[in-house]
Subunit: 422 residues, 2 copies
Amino acid sequence: MEATALIAQLADTARLAARTLVAASGADRAEALHRIAEEIAAAEVEILAANAIDMERAVKDGMAESMQDRLLLTSARIHGIVDGAKQVSALPNPLGITLRESTLANGLHLQQVTVPFGVVGMVYEARPNVTVDAAVILLMSGNAALLRGSSSAESSNKVLVEVMRRALAKTTISPDVLQYVPSHDRSTVQALLHARGKVDLVIPRGSAALIRTVVDDSTVPTIETGAGVCHVYVDDEADLAKALPILINSKTHRPSVCNAAETLLVHEQVAEKFLPMALRELSDAGVRLHVDQKVEMIAVASNIPVSSATEENWSTEYNALEMNVAIVPNLLAASDHIAKYGTKHTESIVTENDTHAAQFIALSDCAAVMINASTRFTDGEQMGFGAEIGISNQKLHARGPMGLEAMTTTTWIVRGNGQIRK
Amino acid sequence: MEATALIAQLADTARLAARTLVAASGADRAEALHRIAEEIAAAEVEILAANAIDMERAVKDGMAESMQDRLLLTSARIHGIVDGAKQVSALPNPLGITLRESTLANGLHLQQVTVPFGVVGMVYEARPNVTVDAAVILLMSGNAALLRGSSSAESSNKVLVEVMRRALAKTTISPDVLQYVPSHDRSTVQALLHARGKVDLVIPRGSAALIRTVVDDSTVPTIETGAGVCHVYVDDEADLAKALPILINSKTHRPSVCNAAETLLVHEQVAEKFLPMALRELSDAGVRLHVDQKVEMIAVASNIPVSSATEENWSTEYNALEMNVAIVPNLLAASDHIAKYGTKHTESIVTENDTHAAQFIALSDCAAVMINASTRFTDGEQMGFGAEIGISNQKLHARGPMGLEAMTTTTWIVRGNGQIRK
């Protein structure tokens, strides 16, 4: 079948099936997630066999080892997926919550309540765990899901969706709320991105290039996730004993993710004291340093290997042990640098001065501002959401880590007794 | 200057100026709106003179009279604009409101607070009052505005922006937060829609065609406003004495706007009782009726003029005294009709049965559901928002009438004392 017709059919089927999700109570949906967790645990052998087919093809095709690692499923990773599904099932029901309520002078009673989006498309790359992680968050928030993973994970994803559908068949929720989207060519992604009216929302997860393509091409509303050129700014009134571990943690704790820091900005008043130890510790941790001229002088004096930062460096999300370092004359200059090169994800200031912190917050146009804390805390689980489907890097709708609530929209319910406009 | 460069320059200037808006308190912004209201009132002669130029060109170009009426400014209309600005200035400050707050086990303090979008582009058609209505809502919510009206209102809009900037020059807020975007050709719209990274949000207001173009072409996030194919469903358990005024009000109170009803659906159990009087009253009010076969039989028996509805009729937003009428076998069939032809704006059910109302709510995937009330109540002022920049017809971000709150996004502020990820 041609891709546009196929996506339309999958979306229509999913939308009709979603009525069973809306009719189900929060407890019913939690129970369905439990079934899914159990079914996945029971299907471990089947899932590992399917993953072995993907892995064999990946090796044959010469896939990079880091990518192979993302594709690989193991018994431990399947347990992780199962635990994740159980955790989401234990979260509070995000639907039917009254956000605003009032009674007008004419007697009309207004309620703004949370409702699902409807049919949500996920477009993602190699990691097959996203198939389940995304599906359970979407089901728990009452949404049907069209799951379009990478062709390299085709047999893993196909089996994971089959197993989840098998679990749903034992509940009041129709298995058709989960739809596997064939991934052997790009046409299904294109069709999904243009299924306006059929699909309510598309969420891309993966590389910056994938996200760019999805956000730019789509006529379906999208939520841009991911790209993070995050900064740590060490203020002139910073406690340097806090600044050092915050810096090292922000850069090295998990360099491959979006909330890792890429650039260190240091106030000139504390640069000579802070930078020799900071550069030394970064360098010892294996971090390649791209620095401005003033930093280079300090590095050379301390015999720390650095290279001159290019214009491109300042706006690069390395996803690796590399970092840019610059000295700035003041907080405003730090904010200007961030405004020019940042991606509005997470910015951290280390300062003991509350006024400086407030200025930094006001000038930082981003999803999260850290004051004396690691950039790594911009994370749904860390922030107590219990689960995360991604981190929104846009201003429309949810901003920052997105849990169950972010996968709902609202409707206004207006109850009257025959009121008409005067 | 080439359009892309021009828009980039206007947006950069506006973004820098927006720092004065962020630095201003809610009271400062309210005061600025008061100045704007006063300045507009004082500049009445100047504004009417500019409008006369637009009107003269409109007449010469043979603009339709209904369009001429939208373009026209009068002393009374200017007073309306002034009052509107004063009303917005009296609304509560929507910025800096803490929506969620918690302290994590590791001592981190989390706050989700409302912040402005930054630079918002308005693309709108003939009516020059939108220039001020939109500007004051955006300023009150801390946003800078790029105002791109219709070329037919060029001199009116230019003077209105000049007058508002003159008012801002007397405050702590930079006049550069308001930017007039030249409208003599389409290139500035295209440039605005593609100013990703320069403009944070674009809101179109005007015809369905304008909105479609903006939403489809834009790489800047947009909020789709407007199109409303709204339904009134008269249930088998309706109080017909309530149903009739609700129907007439929904259709005829102001047929040209998006929350007017276009289609009446009647449960077959009450059709023979309700339709003769309903069709008669609609017809007497000058409403042209497009009906299905069963309705046609009833109409013919009552000697009421109707025509057979085409497939196109069911999905048409008339913005005029025309209405479709169908008989449905049950509530589910009514919901299926709405799902097929509706635009997810406002749906109204007339029923005395709470279970039926609940089913209708669950099946209506729309911005607002009315129970025993006119569709015309989906309106920011009616719903107590005090002002409205438009009605969102999409699920992402705000849904339904958008007041000041809808013009804000959020940021997470995370305060720590040196916390790092374990």
